[in-house]
């Protein structure tokens, strides 16, 4: 009897999933766009990190002696500049056109003055558009000066930095951020598919038939989530192909990646189903899902551990599953531990989110009648 009941519920679930999958296929344009939304998000947000924090800077070398060249060398190793040697006229033209953000002029008497221990002024013209970037330059020039002295006159400037890194290799912006972007892309794709599928039932008033049927609400809702998950898997494959083949970001643990991806889809499908049943209209569901993802991306530790940000943002981030998903995904791809909960702790929190959302969806569909 129990087995038969379970079989029946499973049958209901599967039927709902197949129905939603077929309906998604009839709304071709929307489904195609939905499938490519995560990949679009990944590509667009990756554009943001292409620039990194290297300030495009023109260096006007009015002196070509060994000290001037050593100073240029120090600038190039300051982790701050994308240097190009230019004439004064070219440099002015570039900064006026907004192509570069600073012009550094090494004066004609640079070598003589340095050799004779006389003061030297290095003129730095800055397009001070934004303090984040401007301050990088304001710090990087003195850094170049000090490192120039440390190499050229080690007896004069004897204080240096001895760096020890926790990881054997640095991780560049793109490999790090693209993993965080993957989570947001999954969020958009998963919530969108499930949210529209769920809201469509209310919009087309077919929810009546579903709620009046003798099937359990849990089975119906799980079926809808499963349908969205099947469609979402297509988007996931596309986005993973872009990540691995196009951006060259390969997971350190493939199984963990697959598990985290499925868990993420389950959470976002549940969230989408909940949004769809609450809002009951596809249009606001789509608009809300697509546009709220960007703020969530920012607060959930996409750029680094949230413990490096302000306490208020840390508290807000912990309220959303996206934060824990980013932590798990960064571990799966780069073996990083971004909080003290450990992999099991983060997975447990995510499972709690998934369960909570499924219960909420079922409860809401129960009280809907």
């Amino acid at each position: 009897m129990v087995t038969q009941g379970f079989r029946y519920q499973f049958h209901v679930m599967w039927a709902c999933a197949c129905k939603d999958f077929r309906v998604a296929l009839t709304d071709r344009l929307f489904t195609i766009l939905g499938l490519f939304v995560p990949a679009n998000v990944l590509i667009l947000m990756s554009l943001f990190v292409l620039s990194g924090s290297q300030a495009p800077t023109a260096v006007v070398m009015q002196e070509s002696g060994p000290y001037a060249r050593a100073f240029y060398q120090a600038m190039s190793q300051a982790h701050s500049f994308r240097l190009q040697v230019s004439s004064p006229a070219q440099a002015e033209q570039l900064i006026a056109a907004g192509r570069i953000v600073a012009v550094v002029t090494i004066p004609a008497d640079f070598d003589d003055r340095v050799k004779n221990s006389q003061p030297v002024q290095v003129r730095v013209e800055i397009n001070n558009l934004n303090t984040d970037f401007t301050n990088d330059i304001r710090r990087a020039i003195p850094l170049s000066i000090t490192s120039f002295y440390a190499k050229a006159f080690p007896n004069l400037v004897s204080v240096t930095v001895r760096e020890t890194d926790l990881y054997p290799r640095d991780t560049d912006y793109l490999p790090y951020l693209s993993v965080s972007i993957l989570v947001i892309a999954l969020m958009m794709g998963g919530t969108l598919q499930a949210g529209t599928a769920s809201a469509r039932e209310w919009e087309k008033e077919t929810i009546k038939e579903l709620l009046l049927s003798p099937a359990s609400r849990l089975a119906i809702m799980l079926g809808k989530m499963l349908g969205a998950l099947l469609v979402g898997l297509g988007a996931t494959v596309i986005v993973l192909v872009v990540l691995v083949l196009l951006l060259g970001v390969v997971p350190a643990h493939w199984l963990e990646t697959a598990g985290a991806t499925l868990l993420s889809l389950l959470i976002f499908n549940s969230l989408g189903t909940l949004l769809g049943t609450l809002i009951k209209r596809r249009m606001p569901v789509v608009a809300l899902t697509m546009s709220l993802s960007l703020p969530l991306f920012f607060i959930s530790g996409a750029f680094g551990p949230i413990s490096f940000t302000t306490p208020l943002l840390q508290h807000i981030a912990r309220l959303f599953p996206v934060y824990y998903q980013i932590v798990v995904m960064q571990h799966a791809f780069h073996n990083f531990n971004l909080n003290t909960l450990g992999l099991a702790g983060n997975l447990l929190v995510l499972c709690a989110f998934a369960l909570g959302l499924i219960l909420l969806v079922t409860w809401h569909s129960n009280i809907a009648t």
Partner: protein, 375 residues
């Protein structure tokens, strides 16, 4: 009545006004859409403002093992650098903080620091950095030498460093990062709002089959397009104006006198561009769901490619070249000039590009509606 019938221009405007009013009333009946359009941008602004407080000021543990004068001076230079959020702790606590990811790095002034400097021997400042992300790692790599530079600069005439930076800024004042982010977000609001309200209002006519009534009505097709574009324009313009007023109230932008007009002109043209494109997309797709999907995708592409999340000058050249073809790039530039620097630098160029783009979008919208009605 007769006058109206005999005056085609009056008839055109009357029809456009009626359609505009109807679309505005429908729009006002959808508060969720209104929230969905404006809330993300406002939340994004708030988040950027909060995040900006942490940008460039990484949390660092400072361990001072040296009790000498030079060690104290070095520690002071690190404190004064204002690039760290410092916790001064002992070595054990510092390791715990680093392990728990409470700090990006541990900076240690070793016990023999002063002694080595007195003996004219090389002295090191030890830095253990959690290099999981190049963004934070490079901040530390820049900031610690910056503190060393300050240490030497504090020696005044005794400093061995004689090369100094002579800074010349192109702008009168610096703009904070979150302030800088306000303007692209305003443009994002305008574009999304225009695209969605224009597209939605147009596609709805086909989806609910009310396009029949419009087709049968004795009004020119241009009036229908004008009415729909005007409704989208007004909603977007009002939203953009509200966000600008909020930014002004919070002291994030500082326009004066005539530069308010420059800003409003740019806001108006961008709203017109968004609404016209929205009508074109709505008439072409004739279904609300695809319209929304295309509109949001398009708005985000325009936002990102026009340098919405950074500074265009920092982007690769190929990206800068793409941005040169996007009208939002010019809108952003014009707003920056008017609202931050009270300048009309290249305003003519920016307005011309936005104006031509809006006109092209309007023509596209008209053609799409006519084509849709002819089917």
């Amino acid at each position: 009545m007769d006058k109206k019938a005999n005056n085609p221009i009056l008839e055109f405007f009357l029809a456009a006004r009626v359609i505009m009013t109807k679309d505005l009333q429908v729009w006002l009946r959808q508060p969720v859409m209104l929230v969905a359009t404006i809330a993300p941008a406002l939340v994004l602004l708030l988040v950027e403002m909060l995040a900006a407080q942490a940008v460039g000021r990484s949390p660092v543990a400072l361990v001072i093992q040296d009790g000498g004068l030079q060690g104290a001076r070095m520690a002071q230079a690190i404190q004064d650098a204002d690039v760290f959020r410092i916790q001064q702790v002992d070595a054990n606590k510092a390791q715990t903080l680093l392990k728990n990811l409470d700090v990006v790095a541990v900076v240690t002034i070793p016990a023999d620091f002063s002694q080595r400097l007195r003996a004219h021997q090389p002295a090191v400042v030890d830095v253990t950095v959690n290099n999981l992300n190049l963004d934070f790692t490079n901040d530390i790599r820049r900031a610690v030498p910056d503190a060393i530079t300050r240490y030497y600069a504090a020696q005044g005439d005794q400093s061995p460093i004689l090369i100094h930076m002579e800074e010349h800024d192109l702008r009168q004042h610096d703009i904070q990062m979150f302030q800088y982010a306000v303007l692209p977000v305003v443009l994002l609001v305008l574009t999304i709002s225009g695209l969605i309200s224009g597209g939605n209002a147009t596609a709805r006519e086909w989806e609910s089959a009310t396009v029949k009534e419009l087709l049968l009505a004795p009004v020119p097709g241009g009036a229908i397009v004008a009415g729909k574009v005007l409704a989208g324009f007004l909603t977007s313009f009002a939203l953009g104006g509200l966000v600008l007023m909020a930014a002004y109230g919070l002291g994030w932008i500082y326009p004066q006198g005539i530069y308010w007009l420059d800003a409003l002109l740019v806001v108006g043209l961008t709203s017109l561009l968004g609404a016209s494109l929205g009508v074109a997309i709505g008439a072409a797709l004739q279904h609300i769901m695809p319209v929304i999907a295309v509109s949001v995708n398009l708005a985000f592409y325009l936002f990102f490619l026009a340098g919405g999340m950074g500074v265009l000058a920092f982007e690769p050249v190929w990206l800068q070249n793409i941005a040169a073809f996007l009208p939002l790039t010019y809108g952003n530039h014009a707003l920056q000039m008017a609202l931050f620097y009270n300048s009309a630098d290249l305003l003519g160029r920016d307005v011309l590009v936005l104006g031509i783009s809006s006109l092209v979008a309007l023509v596209l919208g008209t053609l799409a509606v006519r084509r849709g009605m002819a089917k």
